[in-house]
Every structure is written in structure tokens, then in C-alpha cells.
Amino acid sequence: MEISTSSGDVPSSFRDPSGFLFKRDGLIYRQVNGFYKENYDRLMTSGLYRVLVDAELLIPHDEVAIEPAQPDKAYKIIKPELIEFISYPYEWCFSQLKDAALTTIKVQKKALDFGMSLKDCSAYNIQFRKAKPVFIDTLSFEKYREGQPWVAYRQFCQHFLAPLALMAYRDIRLNQLFRVYIDGVPLDLASSLLPFRTRLVFSLLSHIHLHAGSQKRYADKSVDTSRYKVSRLSFLGLVDNLESSIKRLKWQPRGTEWADYYKETNYSEAALQHKKQAVTEFLGRLSPKNVWDLGGNVGVFSRIASGKGIPTISFDIDPAAIEINYHECVAKGEPQLLPLLIDLTNPSPGIGWACDERMAFLERGPSDTVLALALVHHLAISNNVPLGRIADFLSRICNSLIIEFVPKSDSQVQRLLATREDVFSDYTQDAFEQELKKYFIIQDCVRIRESERTLYLMRKSQTAQ
């Protein structure tokens, strides 16, 4: 889903003179401008488009005969296949960004085989479609000219290599720099943040440290760059070197084995099975078009929904949980599940030009059903969010809700209270129901066996619609 301006243009694509996205009658189209005619025709007739689409590396599109959004500039209008949920690099885990980088390199290598090259290497040109990264900017290809440098080299380093190196060598949370720097992490910043030992790695020394130094050295100098030729071999070598640099970057939570990561629940086996059964039954009654699992951890309950063929997003604040979840998605080939990183107490805002180049979390909703399992106590007690505000937020992002209430007497809530003063006198099951009832109708509730937890099925009331 994409928002549009009053003119119908989608605000994420205004920079490119080759064309732009626009929305009409609820559908997304891309106008190809006359400026890009030669390159578009080359993409389509050279066989590159077919090869990339068949390899699921490029989003497929149809050429359509509708009135262009800007007829004076238009060459063609294309209708790209719709992406179920638009996500951004600051919402991806390490391996998602790494796979996005490798997909970009694969696209570039294929393009070179057909005498074309990528002129944009933005991480925002990648989206997850059926849980796999796919290149979405059909207008990013241009004719390759022997001797010309790769115009997207800097962007590739800023959008992929630098953030991945920072996540691998310094701190996994540094992908959040994308929220501040919309055109990727500035290389001088990456260079100053990376540990000294990265200067001993040829690829990082050259593509980040020396690259940053060179940018700084020539930033205010008038240099005739046409003197600097990059032969085809050098060009291929550069792409190949970037690919192996990305492949070598790895991340794993410190002192943790993947398999042992998810062990923090206090459920008995019977309670877990009962909860799974209740969630399955509630989902069966709702038959939602899509599901957002908030605080989905490694996706145990998200998989109940995605296993039924429902497009599901599994959100969590923990990069390690999202990493594990994504690894499982890739290993099992789960097309309906997309794990994403989100801090619900500070969800992704609208960023970029006029704050709407990249959509806010709320703009990408509402989802049909939200799963909020073992979540409310974290928001209410760890983050001091009043129950009324939680109810209001949930009513803005879904039509129906499967939500769990965990009382203060539960050992997990006791763990939260152990390190803070109990100022949460309003945190009771009665108050929870009263606040939720302002927006939702409680249709059913189940007490989870061998626990003090209750699972509710709620639908948004007509007055809250």
C-alpha cells in the first residue's frame, strides 16, 4: 500500500527524471517518461527483463493503455505487480539487508550480461515479495558504456556495505542510522564508527575507509572526472569484490546459539499447546485477509496464520528474534511470512521530503487482524503506556484483534515488576476489558490452561470504525 499526493503521485519516486509512480483508482502505476525511452526499450527488447523476472529478481509489470499522469512527458504507463507490504531497511534484520544487497548485485551482474547497468542502488529499490527480496525499480537500468565508472557505486556502499559492516563489526542496532540518513550511511561516519581492525580488511579498507577519505579530499575540488576510466574488467572486478565483501559479513548474537535463543516463556507444554489451539480457532473464525503479529518474537504464533496461507507480518523489537525468524522463513521457504523489526513505542515515522517519502508504520495499515500475544504487559508496565492508549492504538491498526491479557500475578509480569516500583494500580483485567470495549466488541475469551492468562477474540465496534 502506498499513499499518494493530491496529484496522485506516490511521494517515494519524485527524484527520478526517468519516470514516477502514481496512484489511480486505488491501483499503483509507473509512468515511463520520454527521457527514459531508449533505456526502457533496451531493457524490454534485450531479453534482460524476461531473464530477471523469470529469476524472480525484478518485479513483473504489464504495459497498460491508460491516461498518463503527466501526458507531456509520458512514453508508456506500466502497472507493476503490487507488493503486499512495503518495508524499509531500518525495519530489516541483518540477513534481510544482506540478501537485499546480494539481490542488487545479482541484478547488476545480469544487467551487465545484457549491456546494461544499474544507475541506482538504493536499498529502497528492494522489497520483500513472497518473503524473497526483489528489485522494484524498473527504471533503474541504463546502457552500459565501456570506460564509464559505476554511477551507483557510492550508493551501494552507503546503502548496503557500510550499514552491514557497522552491524557486523560494531553494533546490530546501527541499521537505525537509515532512519536519519535517507540516502544511506555517510561513509565518513561509517569510517569513524568502524573499529580499527576493519582497516586491515581489503574490501572495507578500500570501499569504506579509502572511499570516505577520497570523498573528503575531492569534495571541494574541481576535477575533470571524465579522465578517470574504469575498464570493463575493473568494473566487473569491483562488482565481484563488493559481492564477496557482502558475503563475508556475518552476524550472530553474542554468546547465544540460534537454537537456544527462544527460551524465555513460562508456559508449560500444555499451556503452549492450548494457546496455539485457541489462536488457531480464533483465526479460523475470523478468516482474515492479512495478519500483523505484534511482538511476534521468533514467529511461533505468526506461523499459525501464515501456515493457513494468510499474508502475515511478524513484528518484534529484538533484532536477534527477527534474524532467527527470517532464517526459518528462508530455510522453510515460507512465502506468506515476513518478519520485521519495529519498536512499538516508537514505530517508524514518515521520513524524507515533506515527511512522506517513506511511509510511517500507521500509514501502511490497517491490517485485518492483529495478534497481540504477551504484549500488553510489556507496553503497560515496561513502557508506562496507559491501557486506554494501547486500546486506542490497536483500534487504529486493525479490524479484529486476538489479544492476551497477562495479570500481575504471572511470573513474567513479576519479573518486570522486580526492577521497578509498582505504580500500575490500573493494570487489572477489569480495566483492560473496559478500555478495549471502548473500541472493540469482545466476542470470546479463553483462559489458557495451566496459566493465569486469558486470550480474547475482539472485533472493532461499528462506532469505532
Binding site: 572511499h211 577520497s214 570523498q215 569534495a219 575493473s234
Partner: protein, 110 residues
């Protein structure tokens, strides 16, 4: 590979390049010293070019020029590495085919 001479259970000696018998630690020391030299030489351009001051975000500065220049320089080295990689893989494939051919002939003889 230098020939190894075992003098006793505790000491290992190697035959040096000029036929001199030297202690095992000496070639290791030389290797480490050479490695350190290599690292210093590789890092030298970084030290020369980088002066670790952050840019100020001056709107009139353009990072694109530096990217093109460094790309042309790194590209030469990366191209050479790619060529080396291609020939290395070809050599590996050649020896693989050779050894699998020998193995097959050996199997036939058996």
C-alpha cells in the same frame, strides 16, 4: 617448504634457504615480521588519505567526485583480483578433471 630436521623430542630445526640449519622459531618470526610490513604498507594509503575529521555537511561539497576517483583506483586492483580468481578457478577445474580422469582410469584397471 623448508625441510624439517628433528633433533630431539623438544626441539625442531629447519634447513634454511642457504643450507643453514636454523631454529623453528626463526622462520615464524620472519613470516610475522613480513606480515606486519605488508599490513603497514597496505594501510599506508589509508593513513595518508584519511585524516579522520568528519565532514561538516557543507551543502556545496560533492562526495561524487571522490567516489569516481577511488573507484578508478580500486577498480584496477579489483579487476586484477577477478582475473586471478578466474584463472585460479580454471586451474582448479583443470586439476579436478585431471584427477577424476586418473581415478576413472584407475577404476577401469581395477
Amino acid at each position: 617448504m623448508l625441510p624439517i630436521i628433528r633433533m630431539s623430542n623438544h626441539t625442531t630445526w629447519v634447513m634454511g634457504l642457504k643450507g643453514k640449519v636454523v631454529h623453528m622459531f626463526e622462520p615464524i618470526y620472519i613470516a610475522v615480521k613480513n606480515l606486519m610490513r605488508l599490513i603497514t604498507v597496505s594501510a599506508a594509503p589509508a593513513v595518508i588519505i584519511l585524516n579522520f575529521h568528519q565532514t561538516t555537511g557543507d551543502p556545496y561539497l560533492d562526495a561524487g567526485t571522490g567516489s569516481i576517483i577511488i573507484q578508478a583506483l580500486i577498480g584496477v586492483l579489483a579487476g586484477a583480483l577477478l582475473l586471478l580468481k578466474i584463472y585460479w578457478n580454471k586451474a582448479k577445474d583443470f586439476f579436478k578433471v585431471l584427477s577424476s580422469g586418473r581415478k576413472r582410469r584407475g577404476d577401469l584397471h581395477e
